[in-house]
Structure formats: structure tokens, C-alpha cells
């Protein structure tokens, strides 16, 4: 492993790596647009220039390999001047439309101007006008004026999605990114080009103008779109979740995620959720709190014998939740009839060679593990064959209903049963058709609870609570606990922690009156 000195600090890096990788390893700031760790090296932006001792000219860090004993710095005056005027070249034809640009706030050009630039432009000529608001495809909009021709998106379609839709056309200051005729950017990974675009040239149609990015907070989570379990960052504020971006994980998804997975926030938001618990009594739907419905459901279920109850589970819940439900079924209800509801068994094993898998549940492996542990399990078909045997059914319904195409038929097939308890995060108009003694209990979605998902590789990944969208919703563990007749275990904060309540501020500060 060669050793080198960066900005006066010694560092040891793997042989064959470049200077910019060493900078990243050291966590030192270095300006760069065209270099991306997941793509090949282009060396077109010329902003990552560094000064190497013994070398009369500045070199670009992204394309210079490390040698033993190199002494490199990027904080000398010479480098700063080079970056500053390099930035000026990038900004010659860049429009001044940060206020209406969606990238503003997370734009590398803005950041670097604030760090290195802050000059008056020396270009007297008017800016070259190019095409604006170009519809590239289903999900991406292009603004060629803002583009700085870093070619990240072109390299992405060449190397990662391997669909080659994008290219750089024309020459000189008229060169612009574009698609070939009649070939829109419609691959399954197209929004990644928006993520890697360092400026606002490529914007996502879905997120465009919804929020300014500085209003959003983000936290890491796991994508529930399929069994790959991509690591994502969820961007949210008090109004809900607005977008999902990939989060680097070498073992699972690398730097990318698919376009389908970016839609998972839609079934998380309030608009598509079941807001209150419901139960049907004497032909009338009553709306009340989720915990009350859970208690009522538990009482009703206890009036059936164990053999009369069937439990249906989907792989859309965390390991802990599934464990508690199956445990409840086997040990408390005394029913060994636990069935696995698979949504699309025909293309269960599909894989597009990159990230997208046919199994659209985040936790199928985890569910199979739980079913094995309790030595239960079966298919929906088995349930249908012996449906007359059962009087009551407990369904842990899917959180993401859009991938369960048969949900309508499945709900209708359960109409004949005496009692249906359905745990669901999303609203569905077909629930109205259920018979008397049906209980609908709103559940938390993956961004609202803590737990673990096991992906197709058998890798168990942690999900943490990101935000609260529906305060009333319960998770499966809480529901099961309520159905057993326990009260909800609200974790009240420690009294020491709540110092404000412990001592009366006024009496302490001002003495007794």
C-alpha cells in the first residue's frame, strides 16, 4: 500500500487508486463535477486540480494515479486560482435561474461558487441560449442551458443501465446533452441520472417544484419496493414524504436504485392511508380509534376455536412484527393454519440483472424464516380449498397495495367468512364489501417503525423510524398486544429527562410567593 501526503496529512491507500479517491478517504474537501465513484473517469470538468510536488503543472486528481511518496495539496493559492477561473468557464453560459431551479440548495455549482468563486463575471458576450424544459422521457426533464457537460448522465446510460439513450451533440459552446431521435430516456433506472447531475440540468418530473430542498430533512431507510432491499434516503418534512434517493451500500445496491422504488413514498403519505380504524357491526361501518378496533377484534377472535381461525401473512412487515403475529396465532389462538400470501408467484424469481426483482416484498426471506421457526405455512390456494372449514381470518395485508394486483378478488373471496380482521396501512374501497364483524386496523408503514428486513440474499437490514405520518397507526406488535387485552405500552420519557415538568420554573426562579 503506497503512502502519500495530502494537504500535509500522511495517508495509506490501496495501490492503483487515484488522488481523488485518497481525498475522499481522508474526507478532505475537493471540488469535482464529472467524477463519480460509481462511474468511469472522464476528466472533463478540470475542477479537481491539485498541486503535486516536483510537477510544474497542476494535475487533475481524478485521473492521476497514486505513487509512493507523493506530496499533494489542493489548498495552495495556485490551485484556488485555477479552480476559481475554471468555475468561471463553467458559468459563462450557465443561466442565472437558481431561484426557479429545483437543484438550488443541493447544487454543487452553487456550493463551489460560494467556496471558490465570488467574482464578478468577466464575460462581456451574451449567453448562448439553448433549449429549456425538454421532455426526455417518462420521468426526466432536461434543461440544456444549465448543463455543464460533465457527461455523468451519458456515462451512466453507457455503463450502468447500458441503454445508451443520452449523448452529447454539437460542438464548442453549442454542445448539449440530448437523446437520439425517437429514443426517449425510458429505462428503468432513468432517475439516477437526476441524482448524479451536479447541477439542475436534469430534474425529476415527479419531484419538480413540489418543495425546495432546504425544507426537507432526510434519514436513511430501506426501500420496500422489492426483495433487493436497496438502502435509501427518505426526504420528508412535516407535510409528508416527498422523494426517495439511493444511499450507498456496497453489498446491496451500490450507488443506484430503480425508478419503481422511487414511487414507494406515494403509499406512505397521508393521502393513500387508512386514517382511522373501522369495524362493521349490524351492517354499519363504525369509525373509531385504531387501538379500540384492535381490542374489539381480539375479543371477537377469542370467541372462536383455534381450528376455526386462519392467519394470512405477507412479506411486507418486519421480522419482529411477523414473529409476534405468528406467535400469537400459534400459542394464543391455537391455530396452526398460517398461510403465506404471495402476490406474483409466476415471476417470483425474475431478476433484471441489476437491481429489480420479481418478488415485490421486502421481507419474504424473513417471513419464511419465521414460518419455519414455528413449523407452519401454506399457500393462499390451500386456504381457498378449505375455506369452509374456517370461520374467522386474520390478514396481515400488504403495505404497498399497488403490487398486489389481485387484492380486489382476495377481499371478495373472504366475504363469506364470519369474521375478518385486516391489518392495512393503505385505504382500499373494496374493504366496504366485507361482511359483518370485519375489523380494519390501520398500520404503520416502513418509515414509521423500527425493525429488521431480510432481503433476498439473506442479509438482515435495520429500518429505523424516519418520521410520523399517522400518529394513530399501530405496528403489528402493538396490535397483537392490544388484541391480547393488554393496554398500549406507551414509553413515557424519564422524569429526569423531562426536567421542565419536574420543577416549576417560576417558583424555582422567583422563590415562593
Amino acid at each position: 500500500m503506497p503512502k502519500l501526503t495530502l494537504n500535509g496529512k500522511e495517508i495509506e491507500v490501496p495501490a492503483g487508486s487515484t488522488i481523488i479517491e485518497a481525498y475522499k478517504q481522508l474526507d478532505e474537501p475537493i471540488a469535482h463535477y464529472c467524477w463519480h465513484p460509481g462511474l468511469s473517469i472522464a476528466g472533463v470538468c478540470r475542477l479537481c486540480v491539485v498541486e503535486i510536488e516536483g510537477n510544474p503543472r497542476l494535475q487533475i486528481a481524478c485521473n492521476t494515479q497514486i505513487q509512493e511518496g507523493m506530496v499533494v495539496n489542493n489548498n495552495s493559492e495556485k490551485v484556488k486560482t485555477a479552480v476559481k477561473w475554471g468555475l468561471d468557464f463553467h458559468l459563462i453560459n450557465h443561466p442565472l435561474d437558481c431561484p426557479i431551479c429545483d437543484q438550488a440548495g443541493e447544487c454543487e455549482l452553487q456550493n463551489q461558487y460560494m467556496e471558490f468563486g465570488k467574482y464578478d463575471p468577466e464575460m462581456a458576450e451574451p449567453k448562448v441560449k439553448k433549449r429549456k424544459v425538454v421532455d426526455l422521457g417518462e420521468r426526466v426533464v432536461l434543461d440544456t442551458e444549465r448543463c455543464i457537460l460533465c457527461s455523468r448522465c451519458v456515462r451512466f446510460t453507457n455503463e450502468v443501465s447500458k441503454t445508451n439513450e443520452l449523448g452529447i451533440f454539437n460542438r464548442g459552446d453549442r454542445s448539449e446533452v440530448g437523446t437520439f431521435e425517437d429514443k426517449p430516456l425510458n429505462n428503468k433506472y432513468s432517475v439516477n441520472t437526476v441524482d448524479i447531475c451536479p447541477v439542475g440540468a436534469l430534474t425529476s418530473k415527479d419531484f419538480r417544484f413540489k418543495q425546495r430542498v432546504w425544507y426537507l430533512k432526510n434519514k436513511p431507510s430501506i426501500c420496500t419496493g422489492c426483495s433487493t432491499g436497496c438502502n435509501v434516503n427518505v426526504y420528508y418534512n412535516e407535510e409528508g414524504v416527498f422523494r426517495v434517493k439511493p444511499h450507498y451500500n456496497k453489498e446491496v445496491n451500490g450507488y443506484w436504485m430503480c425508478d419503481e422504488g422511487r414511487d414507494i413514498y406515494k403509499h406512505i403519505n397521508r393521502k393513500s392511508r387508512m386514517l382511522r380504524g373501522r369495524y362493521k357491526q349490524n351492517g354499519v361501518w363504525c369509525t373509531t380509534q385504531a387501538l379500540e378496533v384492535a381490542k374489539k377484534a381480539g375479543q371477537k377472535l377469542s370467541s372462536f376455536k383455534g381450528e376455526e381461525i386462519a392467519v394470512l401473512v405477507t412479506g411486507q412487515y418486519t421480522n419482529e412484527e411477523l414473529n409476534s403475529l405468528v406467535d400469537y396465532s400459534v400459542n394464543k389462538l391455537g391455530s396452526k393454519s398460517v398461510f403465506h400470501w404471495k402476490n406474483n408467484e409466476n415471476n417470483w424469481q425474475d431478476f433484471d440483472g441489476h437491481l429489480i426483482r420479481g418478488d415485490k416484498n421486502p421481507n419474504t426471506k424473513g417471513l419464511q424464516g419465521v414460518l419455519q421457526k414455528y413449523a407452519v405455512g401454506g399457500e393462499w390456494k390451500e386456504l381457498e380449498n378449505q375455506l369452509s372449514k374456517f370461520k374467522a381470518v386474520v390478514v396481515a395485508g400488504p403495505e404497498n397495495q399497488s403490487v398486489y394486483f389481485d387484492i380486489k378478488e382476495k377481499i371478495e373471496s373472504l366475504k363469506s367468512l364470519e369474521c375478518v380482521v385486516w391489518f392495512t396501512a393503505g385505504e382500499n374501497s373494496n374493504f366496504e364489501k366485507l361482511s359483518d364483524n370485519s375489523y380494519l386496523i390501520p398500520q404503520k408503514t416502513s418509515v414509521e417503525k423500527n425493525g429488521h428486513f431480510t432481503n433476498h440474499q439473506g442479509l438482515t437490514q435495520k429500518v429505523e423510524e424516519v418520521t410520523t405520518i399517522l400518529p394513530e397507526a399501530l405496528n403489528l406488535e402493538e396490535t397483537v398486544s392490544l388484541m391480547l387485552g393488554n393496554s398500549l405500552d406507551l414509553s413515557i420519557r424519564d422524569k429526569q429527562e423531562m426536567g421542565v415538568l419536574k420543577t416549576n420554573y417560576f417558583s424555582q426562579e422567583r422563590g415562593s410567593l
Binding site: 443561466p95 442565472l96 426557479i100 458576450e125 449567453k127 419538480r208 417544484f209 425546495r212 425544507y215
Partner: protein, 174 residues
């Protein structure tokens, strides 16, 4: 500040003081009777005081030459607002050179503290604070002003034109 009391019995005679005051009042009254135009007070509800155009009063959203709203929905005013009383919903404009515009712009004037930070933050002279200073409302009056109220209220006579025009900027090559 301390009150200095003159010593002696004469200071306790209040009658001369009252008389001096009455004479002063009478003089002013007679003067005002014959010089009505020089009177410094106003008959308030009928007469209203006109502040200078620089007065930071009621918000105005400026318009372009064609009468459409100037605001680009960049949300810098809403970001800068210390009272968080501005709410904007942006949308895609048909014209690609305009690109973004507000379909809803609301100011909750009861929350507003009239600090003028929105005016300062605006990069395109789209929001100003005008000289209008009073807008009373009865019970149930809607104090959340929308675009119609902020840009096209009757007092503005068809809207106030912004100094910056998009078309001019575009032709100039900015």
C-alpha cells in the same frame, strides 16, 4: 427625571395656572376656527392619512407587462419570513422561458409582522410592501390574502408593474 417643586406658598396657588392654560386653549380654538386648513388633526374615519410610498404597509405582488404575476415561486420570501406566514404552491408554466410560477400565494396577515424581509429576499422585485396601512375586517373576515387580493385588489388599479421584465432579461442574454 425628577420634579422640581418651587418652594413657597405661591406654588400652591393653582388658579393662575389654570387661567394661563384656559387662555392658551381659547387662543388656539379661535385660531383654528379661522384657519381650518392648518389644523394638525384628522377626522379619522372620513379622512385618512396618506403615508409616503416608502412606507412598509400592505403587501403587493407586482405584475409583468402583460398583467400576469411576476413571482417565480422561488420561495425565498417564505424561507426568509420570520413569522412563517407565506405559503406558496408552485407549478409548471406553459412557457419554457418562464418555467415556474405560483398557482397559489397566500399571506396570513395576522401572523405577519411587517418586517419587510420578504421584500428584501425577493430576487425579482415580485413582492413589495406598499403604502396602504389599514384593512379592518369584521368577525369572520378572511385575513389570509391570496393572489387576487395581493396583486389585483381594486386599490392597485390593475396591478403594479415590476421593474424587472423577463422578456427584456432574456433578450439581453441574461
Amino acid at each position: 427625571m425628577s420634579i422640581v417643586k418651587k418652594p413657597g406658598a405661591i406654588a400652591n396657588w393653582y388658579l393662575p395656572g389654570i387661567l394661563i392654560g384656559m387662555i392658551f386653549t381659547l387662543k388656539k380654538m379661535i385660531y383654528n376656527l379661522f384657519h381650518k386648513d392648518k389644523m394638525p388633526t384628522l377626522n379619522y374615519p372620513e379622512e385618512k392619512y396618506e403615508y409616503s410610498p416608502r412606507f412598509k404597509g400592505q403587501h403587493v405582488l407586482t405584475v409583468k407587462k402583460d398583467g400576469s404575476i411576476r413571482c417565480t415561486a422561488c420561495m425565498l420570501c417564505a424561507t426568509n419570513c420570520p413569522a412563517q406566514c407565506i405559503k406558496i404552491v408552485a407549478s409548471e408554466h406553459e412557457d419554457p422561458t418562464v418555467e415556474k410560477y405560483p398557482i397559489n400565494y397566500e399571506i396570513d396577515v395576522l401572523r405577519c409582522v411587517y418586517c419587510g424581509f420578504c421584500e428584501e429576499a425577493c430576487p425579482v422585485d415580485a413582492i413589495r410592501m406598499g403604502p396602504e396601512w389599514q384593512k379592518p375586517g369584521a368577525n369572520g373576515f378572511n385575513f389570509t390574502y391570496d393572489i387576487q387580493e395581493l396583486a389585483y385588489r381594486p386599490q392597485l388599479k390593475g396591478g403594479i408593474e415590476s421593474r424587472l421584465d423577463e422578456k427584456e432579461r432574456h433578450d439581453f442574454g441574461i
